[in-house]
Symmetry: C2
Subunit: 317 residues, 2 copies
């Protein structure tokens, strides 16, 4: 029996899971803080992987979901928020050198897309777009059953198209991107502005509400909170209509914390899609839905990548 | 020796070319009007292909560039402007039934992209975006050396993303798409509005200038004409910046009549690209250039498709 190890590495914590081939849930799952005063993030990661190593010593592949952009041509994690030690960091090469098994990586949004395609809301689809709407908006694109990486692995940044020219500042530094008007951060900013201008709501201005509190207020019927979610859904729908013309997918999946609002986000999203698509042909047999893997999407995507890696580069020992 | 036949079918005329394997230019090229009072478009096309048939009778494949959206899953040309007889028309199946050789089709923008990738400005690139800027704005996307078709063959409509929310009406019926603000039609409309409001220019309002006349005036230094081309270049650059984030290509090719203005369009386009990209990583080793195949891009793309078709489905006789 050969085991697969999946890693989901964030700026705050690292999670690792050990899977028997073809089996889910994992045999074991562990997590540790990414930064600690006693060891480097690399050493922390190595110890985490070691702690999960199977008794028979046989691991077919390790794959990692990473919180920043990766250059797959060069095999480098370019940057990762809150892990300054990992700039231009060759993670797969380091894992292979340390453990002697094939290793692979991708960014967490790409792997969440792969996870939903393989195990979640996207099963059976060959062309799929995944958006994670939380602090920012990340994206992953599956075309013909493969992740779209582009020339260097930087493709799939679906949150970074302009939907409001010269609009609010985006996390990336540009203006008016989808992320800047429809992410959890954007929704919280809009709530604060509305409350400051006296819009009635159950939400409190002191302290200003978080995206999660806005979702909760919306679930309880608060008008302002519902309007803010509807506006975010509208912008996401407009962007997805553009993406339908460009990618012609059959499945649109919305994940991330904001997606927990379900139809309060999705109904306006679907309405905007219908309104902005250039021909109803693009909506034929198209599913627009929420993700089903929740916080495990990245980890399950890493499992799918480990499966592919084991298949394409079988271990020689 | 087995011949390839490439077809470029437009609403006004049909062109056909016969190629020896691996050779360019064609051995023979013919064109006829698409509509004539004596025969149906299909019969006209069949006669055109017959007239090019080689003496030895050996044709490896036929491929056609078509002026409308195709459903490759069902093998149908969905619609074609000015060829009302061809709604939901199974062209490859009809050609195969009539001539007994493998046949394929794609829309002309996809095949122009493939032509530039195989024979033109995109040679050597694996990830390429092609925009044809003429009456409308069409697009084609090459990813990992293949045309992006999406689930049903409707992908690649790069002219139909929103760049000016609630902006001018687009050819597709939506508002503010790239086509609606940067196509030849849009440039001509903007010129007319500027002239009507008294903006000084060498251009005449009676009759209103065409996109070609605006290009000519720009080449001669006319300020208004240059500003209009610069604005179109700006909008195309903004859209391409979004597309860099989504596709991470290494080559951006602008074709179509408006692209003949060269740097008057491309300089502002490149400036907008630099200004709107979320990270300089996306511009590393990226070429933004004009097409080199001109009006033959579709025909040469059909040749490339015929090559692929002959390779993938070798004739059995």
């Amino acid at each position: 029996m050969t085991t697969l190890i999946a890693l989901d590495i964030g700026g705050t914590q690292m999670r690792a899971a050990r899977f028997a081939p073809g089996e889910y849930p994992p045999q074991e799952i562990r997590k540790v803080p990414t930064q600690n005063p006693e060891s480097s993030p690399e050493e922390t990661l190595f110890q985490l992987v070691e702690s999960l190593w199977p008794a028979d010593g046989k691991v077919a592949a390790i794959a990692a979901a990473l919180p920043g952009p990766v250059d797959l041509q060069q095999g480098l994690l370019l940057t990762a928020p809150n892990i300054p030690q990992w700039r231009d960091y060759p993670l797969p090469q380091r894992l292979e050198a340390r453990f002697g098994v094939p290793a692979a990586m991708d960014n967490d949004a790409n792997l969440a897309a792969l996870g939903e395609w393989r195990f979640g809301a996207g099963r059976g689809h060959h062309y799929l777009l995944y958006l994670t709407v939380s602090t920012g908006i990340g994206g992953g694109v599956i075309l013909n059953d493969r992740i779209l990486h582009g020339a260097r692995g930087l493709a799939g940044e679906l949150g970074h198209i302009t939907v409001v020219p010269n609009g609010p500042r985006c996390g990336c530094g540009q203006r008016g991107h989808l992320e800047a008007v429809a992410s959890g951060t954007a929704i919280a900013r809009q709530a604060r502005a509305a409350l400051e201008s006296g819009t009635p709501s159950k939400l409190s201005l002191h302290p200003p509400p978080t995206a999660r509190q806005i979702s909760e207020a919306a679930a309880q019927g608060d008008t302002l909170a519902r309007e803010l979610l509807a506006q975010a859904g509208y912008y996401i729908g407009v962007a997805l209509a553009d993406y339908l013309h460009v990618f012609n997918p059959t499945c649109l999946i919305i994940g991330g914390g904001v997606s927990r609002s379900g139809d309060l986000l999705l109904d306006p999203l679907r309405a905007a899609l219908r309104e902005h698509v250039m021909s109803p042909e693009y909506l034929k047999n198209v599913t627009a839905t929420t993700a089903t893997l929740g916080d495990n999407a990245g980890l399950m995507g890493a499992l799918a990548l480990a499966e592919q890696t084991a298949f394409e580069r079988p271990a020689t020992r």
